[in-house]
Structures are given as structure tokens and as C-alpha cells.
Symmetry: D2
Subunit: 338 residues, 4 copies
């Protein structure tokens, strides 16, 4: 932590700051310049973050030079984490593809989707049984019936099931059916929910919040890991910007950045990330080329009949085509579906 004194700060003001720091056991180093003094602070960051240094007279600003998270960082663990979801691996050289409809709508729709997804080579079936919706009047999902359909689709195809938990209450029931629990964007900082899934033994797919910084996202993963559940996979799904052509702005540089600063696997969701099915294929290829460990793709047997997000869903034909193109990029990147 660095403290920058303002140009007009007095010696007394400096002294008060220094005393406050040393009183809690922090070490300080002064750099006295022509126009201002800078204090380098060494010690446990938690101590200083609880001191309201910036409210002291004569202090211009405080600059953090370290991060809050530990367990998610590359410094904590050098090698890539590989998450095992019922035998299917995510991370390292293992490419994971999760596909299926946005929402579970009916038994027929889901079983048909599962077969399409399976035949194209994906290992996971996605589909929302509980749906967080902006309006209280919109379709909120089939709930437990949807979970039962997902379980049936798993039995028939062997696909692993990834589905969203929207609140603390539904964690036990979703855990009873799913192979992997998804935390949606709106819940990325629902800390009680993060801690609850952190206490389960299910792998967690953590989507990035709509306007979350990398730091906030990695701290959200830290909430899960700090409860003992180390099987966390991140999912970049687009951030909110001024651009209106796409539903969100898919931030693929976050994939490359996460690879540098964390050991956790990261996948990309180009369906929500762009909101336009024509952009899904190109951005799926780009995501893998940027280093992602997998994809989450909306596929619907008949997008024109979908109850939600039909606009961004691929048809079976287009999903097959995408899988072939992605396969070639994955090969260049040394990753394989397995």
C-alpha cells in the first residue's frame, strides 16, 4: 500500500499518519520529494484497509499495490487447476463444451436438445430450470420438473448437467440433480449464495457479473474457495458497455488476463456475450484462440420456438458447424474434447 500526501501537507499531519500506521504494527518508508511525500507501507493489507487513512488531513490518496485474493492466484498455485466433473475434465489440455437451450421448456425439447448436443461432441448439457428474470411477470422456469428432465437427459445421453442455482434455498435440490452448479451474472456478488455453494462438494461455474472488474470476479471465486470448495470454473459472458449492437461486449482479453493471474480454468459464453447467433461461431473460435478452456453455447432444436433467447440460439446445423470450426482452432491450441 502506498500513501500519497498532498503538496501542502504539514509535518504534523504526516506524523499523525505515520503513528496510525505503526500503531497497528505496519512498517513505513518515506520518500520525500520536492512537492510531496510518499509513504510506502509494508505489512498485512487487512490492517491498513481498516484504517481510514484517506480521511486524514494532508492525505491525497492511497494506492493499493497488491490484491485481496489469495487462493485463486497464480502466486498461490503455479500449475493450472483441472476441475473434474464426474469424470469430464476442464482445464489444462481438456476442452469442455457445455450446450443446450437457455431454459428447459419441455421434456421433448430437452431430450432432443441433449441428443443434438451429444452427437456434436459436447460433454455437458446446459439448461435453466430456475431462471432469474428482469421482470416479475416473465417466465421463471419449470423448477423441479425441469431438474427431473435434465436428470433424464443425462441418463439417456451420459452428458453431464450444468444448471443455475438462483438462491440459497434451491442449492440442496439443484445439487441433488446437477453435476455442476452455475452461479449467474446477477448473483456474482450474492455472497451468501457463494458461501453456500462453497460448502457443497459440487464443482461451480462462476459467471462474471454484468459490470464486474476482474478483481471483483476473482474475489467472488475466493468466497467459494475460502469455504473449502476448490472446484471453480470461471465463465466470461460479456460486460455492459455503451455499445448497443451486441447484447453485451464479450471481453476476451479477460480470458488471457485470467490465465496470467489465476490458475482456475475459464470458459467463454458467446451466446449471452453477443446476443446474436451470427456472432456466436466467430466468437467461440476467438475464445478458444485466446486460451479459453471451453465454451457455453445456447443450442435449440428450433430457435424459432424457444421460450427465451431464441435470437442468440444456434440451430443444430449451425452448432455442428461451429463445433467443427472450433475443433480446428482447439487443435492448434493443443486442446482436445475428451
Amino acid at each position: 500500500m502506498i500513501i500519497v500526501m498532498s503538496p501542502g501537507a504539514t509535518k504534523e499531519q504526516l506524523q499523525i499518519v505515520l503513528e496510525k500506521l505503526t500503531k497497528v504494527g505496519l512498517k513505513v518508508h518515506l520518500s520525500e520529494g520536492a512537492s510531496r511525500t510518499i509513504i510506502g507501507v509494508i505489512g498485512d493489507k487487512r490492517f491498513i484497509s481498516e484504517l481510514p487513512i484517506e480521511a486524514l488531513d494532508g492525505v491525497e490518496k492511497m494506492v493499493s499495490v497488491t490484491v485481496d485474493y489469495k487462493l485463486v492466484s497464480r502466486e498461490f498455485k503455479q500449475e493450472d487447476t483441472i476441475v473434474n466433473v464426474g469424470g469430464v475434465l476442464i482445464g489444462g489440455n481438456h476442452l469442455a463444451v457445455m450446450a443446450g437451450p437457455c431454459a428447459v421448456e419441455s421434456r421433448e425439447q430437452l431430450l432432443l436438445s441433449a441428443e443434438i448436443v451429444k452427437m456434436a461432441g459436447a460433454q455437458f448439457l446446459r439448461g435453466g430450470a430456475y431462471k432469474p428474470r428482469t421482470s416479475p411477470y416473465a417466465f421463471q422456469g419449470l423448477e423441479i420438473k425441469g431438474l427431473e428432465m435434465l436428470a433424464e437427459a443425462r441418463e439417456k445421453t451420459g452428458l453431464k448437467i450444468v444448471t443455475e442455482v438462483v438462491d440459497v434455498e434451491s442449492v440442496p435440490v439443484v445439487s441433488a440433480y446437477a453435476d455442476m452448479l452455475q452461479i449467474g451474472s446477477r448473483n456474482m456478488q450474492n455472497f451468501q449464495l457463494l458461501k453456500t455453494v462453497g460448502k457443497t462438494d459440487k464443482p461451480v461455474l462462476l459467471k462474471r457479473g454484468l459490470s464486474a472488474t476482474l478483481n471483483e470476479w476473482l474475489n467472488a471465486a475466493e468466497y467459494i474457495m475460502s469455504e473449502g470448495n476448490y472446484n471453480v470454473v470461471l465463465c466470461e459472458r460479456g460486460i455492459r458497455t455503451y455499445e448497443e449492437y451486441t447484447r453485451n461486449t464479450l471481453d476476451l482479453s479477460a480470458v488471457a488476463a485470467v490465465k496470467n493471474i489465476s490458475h482456475l480454468p475459464i470458459i467463454v459464453d458467446p451466446s449471452h456475450g453477443t446476443g446474436r447467433w451470427k456472432l456466436v461461431g466467430p466468437m467461440a473460435r476467438a475464445g478458444i484462440a485466446a486460451g479459453a478452456d471451453g465454451l457455453m453455447i445456447e443450442v435449440h432444436p428450433n430457435p424459432a420456438e424457444a421460450l427465451s433467447d431464441g435470437k442468440q440460439s444456434l440451430t443444430p446445423e449451425n452448432f455442428n458447424l461451429m463445433m467443427q470450426e472450433v475443433g480446428k482452432i482447439a487443435e492448434v491450441m493443443g486442446k482436445t474434447l475428451a
Copy 2:
């Protein structure tokens, strides 16, 4: 709802779209232009929002011309809603000021804060007993002990208590102590929490999400109201933008906009909105001048000792000064603290 066909759409494609719409009972009107056809759709918006029209061949885009929310809108209720919190009114000509420390830290700090706040003329004491924090390792609040201290401060001063509920579990206990429940920014789309407070009889202060649109924010209020709790007060607290000088960008135009499209009261939080105590006074004045029904302000008996957000807290002297300045603006606006 308006559907715009693409320039090359065929008659058959148009026919399929029309059939899909009319099959669910919607009425359509065609506008055939030189380069493209436009379909005006009339009927219950929920029907069309569940049809994946944009996934149909020949459809370029779908444009919504109405909003989802009802109970929060001016069309539903013309006159301003006035929320009664244990005898203190918010809305109409009644100006409400909520002030106090970011977090409840100790009995002494809180009781002293309460007296300062009371003497300056505010009617509400704010203070977090449960704190949502980005890092799992940061101070998370005194919890029930904090609630007890808030209740004691109320007994001594008569101030109403507004404090945050961070999850569904804590709603009963916080309701037992607080006069008004606060939903924080990170929970603005925690729909289970919104529905839960919607079932209580406590007035709710709903903060705007970090990157929430007006539409999403008003829909979040709709979630609460659709459960039967009509006592909702909105709170603008800054949105996330590229500007780094301020912690957030306080969007005061949202105050004026809400006054046009909704009947609910709205207050402003310039402390979180700017993150800098020097900007709190000017933005408090500006908020009231824009038409806000009140303020939420961080005040700390000694900001330099605060456990969180000291940088943005006012000293007792500055809070007094702010109250005087705001009082003059409120007078011009025809509003009074009462």
C-alpha cells in the same frame, strides 16, 4: 412491439411471422416500404416476449415500445406516493435525511453518531450491521449486536432506523429491529430477496444496481410491489462508468427521469455516489435541486477512525454545514424536513 423485416425477406418468411403472432391472439398491422416491411404488433406483451420472433428467417429486429412494469409506473398511479416510516413521511413535500456511519462499529461510535445526526435535523439513522464486501477477508459487520445498538440509538434519539438486509435469512431478524429495510446495489437483482421483503410490512429502500438501467431498477421495485408491499423508496447511488476520479458517477438525471415515469419517492446517496467527502455537499444540494425526496449521507464522529469508507464520510461539522445548505435549496423546492 414492432417487428422489422430485413430488406431481402420473402413473402413466405413474412407469412410465417404473421401466423406465429396471430396464432397466440395478437393483432398485426403491416407497413410495407420500398426496402422493407414493418409489422406493428398489438396485444399482451407477455405473449410476444415468449415468441422467439428474432430467430425467424427474414426478421431483422424487434423493437419494444412499451415497458414491463406496471405498479411502479405513473400511468398506474398519477399522484406521488408518500411512504410513511413510523410516522416520518418520504415523498411529496416531505424531505427525508438518513445519515450515520457506513458500518456500525461500536456502541460508543453509534450513539455518538446518532446524536450528531439528530441534532443536525435528520430523521433517520443509517448504519450497516451486515456488510456485503468484495473480499471474503474484509470486515463483514457486527450483525445482531449491531442491530441491538441501532435499536438502542433509536430509543435514545427517536431516529428511525434504516439498515441493510444482505440475504433472505436475515430478513426476519433485521425486520425485528429496523424501521426500514435497505436493499443494497449488489442485491438489486437478487430476486428471491426482493420477493421476501415484498412479503414483509416494512418500508423498503431500494438502491440502484451498479450498472442497472432505469428499466431494470424499476422492474426490481416491481418485484417488491408485486408481492404486496407498496412502500418502496428508490435510492440513486451512482453508476459504474469509465471515470476514475469519482468512485461512481452519480446519475442525477435518473432522479428527474424517475419523477416522470414513476410515482415512487427517490432519494440520493452522494457519499457512495462520489466516494469523496468534498463532493458530498455539492451533490447533496444538486440532488435536492433535481427533485429528490431526500438524502442518504455517511457521517462519522471521527472519519479518520472509521472501519470503512472513512474517505467519503462527513465530519459532524461538515454534516451540519451541508444540512444548512441543503435546507436552503429544499426551501426553494418547496420541501421541508418534518
Copy 3:
């Protein structure tokens, strides 16, 4: 400037960084912590900004603790600058109101607008003779004919004329007619244009760029001042964010911030800032309450006939109403139209 070494940096890497700094005459102070070393650097910022320190091995990041601009800063000049535009003062206790149509459309429209503006108490007539437009096919202004009309309106009313210069070529001709030169948002970083108006003796109104930070905006003002023209007035006109309800997000905290860090006057443009005439009045009041030195308002004798931006223009009646409301807020703030 502060340099943060990465946790694994070697002594040799540190040594190379130190040598590079001291070679150009900078002084350094080391803070060696448990996990990393921090270097405080003292000396002329320009020297260090030209050293590519962050590209050196072992360097994690470089943090700037000072700003680039000088002439615009409060540190350079403590007292408020008051800009004199042909006898009308802007800044200090002097409130300036600039009003008129977005574009000069015809002699009749402009002269009528000028009378309305004058009678309501404004001192400046605004109106674009040269219009920067997103599409090459949109109306681009009446150019020199528009300037002549502006000059005629000045003769008839005594109002001062403020109008935009869109490129270097038009600076001489616009200067021959206008009392104050406006630099539009899209040109805020057109450095050649900034330098050119910096060499004239005309006061300059510098609008904030669509997504400019405070630092970039103040540096743009520094470009003008560094050429010798100290008569610069800033104009906040909204920044680009994700919110779509308003055309831009009017950042009034920038007004309060500029008052802290600069001595230059600053005015607010709620017409472009919101894009909706119903929000203009509330945000004009809010701007003055935040500490602004004036307003720029679009007024049109008949907004429904305007060639551009009719949606955000006030009618004469609404402008009068706004002036009365603003007048009361200005009185509280100790400012007067004069």
C-alpha cells in the same frame, strides 16, 4: 511516480530499474516489503514518462501520483478565474446563461430566438453555423451565412455570440464574428484545433469529450492555455454510459470536482446532457446547485419545427420557467446574472 516490483523480481532486475532512473537525474527511495519492493521516484515527471519502465523485467506496475497539467490547476492559481467576454463575466459570483437553437436555420428563427433568450435574461446567444454530424448526409449548417445572422442578432439584442469552430480552417472566419469560440465534444482532443484557438485572443468554451476523463479534459484546456490564451471556460455536457434512457449521462460531480482541482469556470449543458427537454429544467437547477458558473440551453421558438435536436429544446415558455427556477437556486448559491 511509484514503481511496484513484482514479487519474484531479482536484485539484478531492481538494479537495472534504479540505474535507468538515476541516469536521467531522478531520485529514488526504496521500500522493501516482505513480498515486494516499491520504488518512490522524485523529479520531473516528463523524464520518467519517457522511460519505458513497465517494459522492464521484474516491474509489475507504475503508478502516477501527480497530474500532467499545470496552468489549469488550483495549485498554479488559487483564486477563481473570471473570464470576460466582451464585458460579460463568467466565474466567481457571475452566472452566465447561453441559450438559443442547436443550429442556425434561418434569419427569422434566429432573430426570434435571440429576442426570447434576451427577454428571459440570458447574456449569450448560442447557435451552430457549422455543425459536426455523424452522417455525411445530414444537415451541416449554414456556415458563413449563419455567422452573419448571429452577428445581426447581436446587433439587435446586445447578446454575446458563442458558436462552434469545427476545424482549423474556420477559426479565422468564426473569430471575426463570434465573441466566444466553442470547441465541441468530438474535437476535445483535436490538438491542432486546440493550439489554434490557443493562439487567438477569443475566450474559448471547451466542451468535455464524449468519454473524456477529467484528466484528459483538463489537459485539453492546458493545450489552449499553453499557447497563451488563458480565457477558457469548461462545459460539462454528459458522458457516454450504458444507460439508454438519457442521450448521455450528465456528470454533475465533474462540476464539483473541477471546482476543487482547477481555477477555471465551468458551465453545464443539460440539453445535450439529457437529450430530453423534460429533464432540462431539473438538471439546470441541479447544475447550479452543484456549483456551476452557468448554463448552456437549447431554446427554439418552435421546437417542433427545429432542424436538429428539437426533442431536447425548450419552448420559450419552458425556458422562461427554467430561468425563474434557476434564479432562485442561484440566489442561494450567491450568484447573479449580470
Copy 4:
């Protein structure tokens, strides 16, 4: 164009709107719903854009369903444009790589850079002779001496030269030396400059503005093309968002989007787009996988000695590595350096 009347609009208000539209020759179609009436408008968009419909009483909003640009659109020209820069092709199956230092610093640095770039297989040498800089006190480029060095580098290596024109004045001199003129982000809406390069016969590289929408960017290209110069290549270089880890947020979905809506070639600049050399390689690969026609990369013989942007420059070794990786992705995409 679609006009949405407000729920309470009267028949008289509707009548006034209709008259205004039909008076200028536009055709209208009414859709009368339960709560509001919608007007579909057919005819030349320019006529309606000059009518201030939204300022009329009873009008809620106006929704544009078409775009302003023509020459840049896929509707205007179906097949991909291939731009020929002195024999090197950009677009179609032709991959272009432009590389070199951010700024021309010295003859030695530039010639060395040129050889590195040439040997790694790039066809263009980039390097700024004129540099637009936020601060007036920062290094502004070697100007004409820099151009001479670029020309010498071309003679020695055969590389094509792409360099920035920062204002109208420098267009002739830069055109005398360069093979391709670059318009930088800050000048994307410097309309006079766009028109000036539109009158030259030099191919133009048009960078996206810092916060430009796709629509604004394509309209900027339309400015150039409407003057007769059809040799325009777009360059995505990152947009401004709230995320601070990267210098900008590289928006690769814009690449895929441009491929759908325009026939112009588009390249990607991951150096400015990320601001971190470690992310340049992954984002270069991702850009090509997304469908880009080329790359612009900062390479410096010794980034640690660079006068600007050293932090984001690749070393010769890393550039070579990147070229090999990109080559494999390009092969999958059916593109070749030639």
C-alpha cells in the same frame, strides 16, 4: 422510421404528426393498439430526420429501423472489398500484418525495427512521425524527419509504410511519404480530416474511436468514401469501459459484426487494445479467429528503451513467436500472408 405515440395522445395530436410527415412526401401506416398508436413511416430517411417529430405533443419516441450509411454497407456491395496498398492486398484471403514501434524515435531504432518486422513476415511497417498526446508537454513525434526515416526503411526492406495523419495540414506531406494513411482514434470524428483523406488516392486505415458505436464508426468510413476514396480498412483497437486491468477493452465481436454489415476489410490492434504485452499474442490469435483480415502490432527492438508505450510492445522474440502462432490460426481460417 417508426413513431410511437404516447398512451394519452389525442386524435388532434396524431393528426398534426401525420400532416407533418405527409407534407414532405412520406407515406404512413397506422397501427392502433389498445393503449397506443404506432406510425410506420416510409420514404427517404433524410426527410424525416430533419423533422423534429419527437418534440411534438403526444409523441413518445421515434425508433430508427434503418442505418444512415450506404457505401460501406453489405447491401450496397455484397462481395468483400480487397484493398491494394502498393501491391499488398488486405481483405478476402489476404492477411495483412502491420508492425513496428509506436513512435519513430531514431534512424537506428526504426531501421532495426523494420528488419525485425520484415524477417518475421509482416508486410507493413508502422510508426508514428506525428503523435497525438494527451498532454501538451509529452513527446509529439519527429515529424518530417520521422517520415524520411520511414521512407528509408521502406527502401531497405520493401515494407509498405502506414503512419498517422493528425490534422488536415499534414495530409499532403504524409501522403508524399506513406503508402497508407492512418486516422487515429481521437480523430475518428474529425470530419474535416476524414473528408480530406477522402480526396486523396491513398488507402486509409480508420481506427475506431475510443467510445464510438459501430454506427458512428461506419459513418466515419462513409465520410471518406463519400468523397470518392473507396480504399478504407477499419481497425478495432479497443473501447473505453469501466475495466481497469486492460488499457481498453478489445471488442472482437465488432470484427464479426463488421463482417456481417460491411464489405470493408477490418484488422485488429491488440497492442493498444490491451496495453499489456502479455495479452498481445492471445488477442492477436483471437482476432484472426474472429475473422479479422490482419493485425497491427507494436514491436520494438528494445521495449525497455521505447519513448512511448514500451509496456505494450513486443520484443523481437515475442513478435516472432506471435507470428508463428497467428500463422497457424490463419491457416485454419483460410488466410495467408502474401
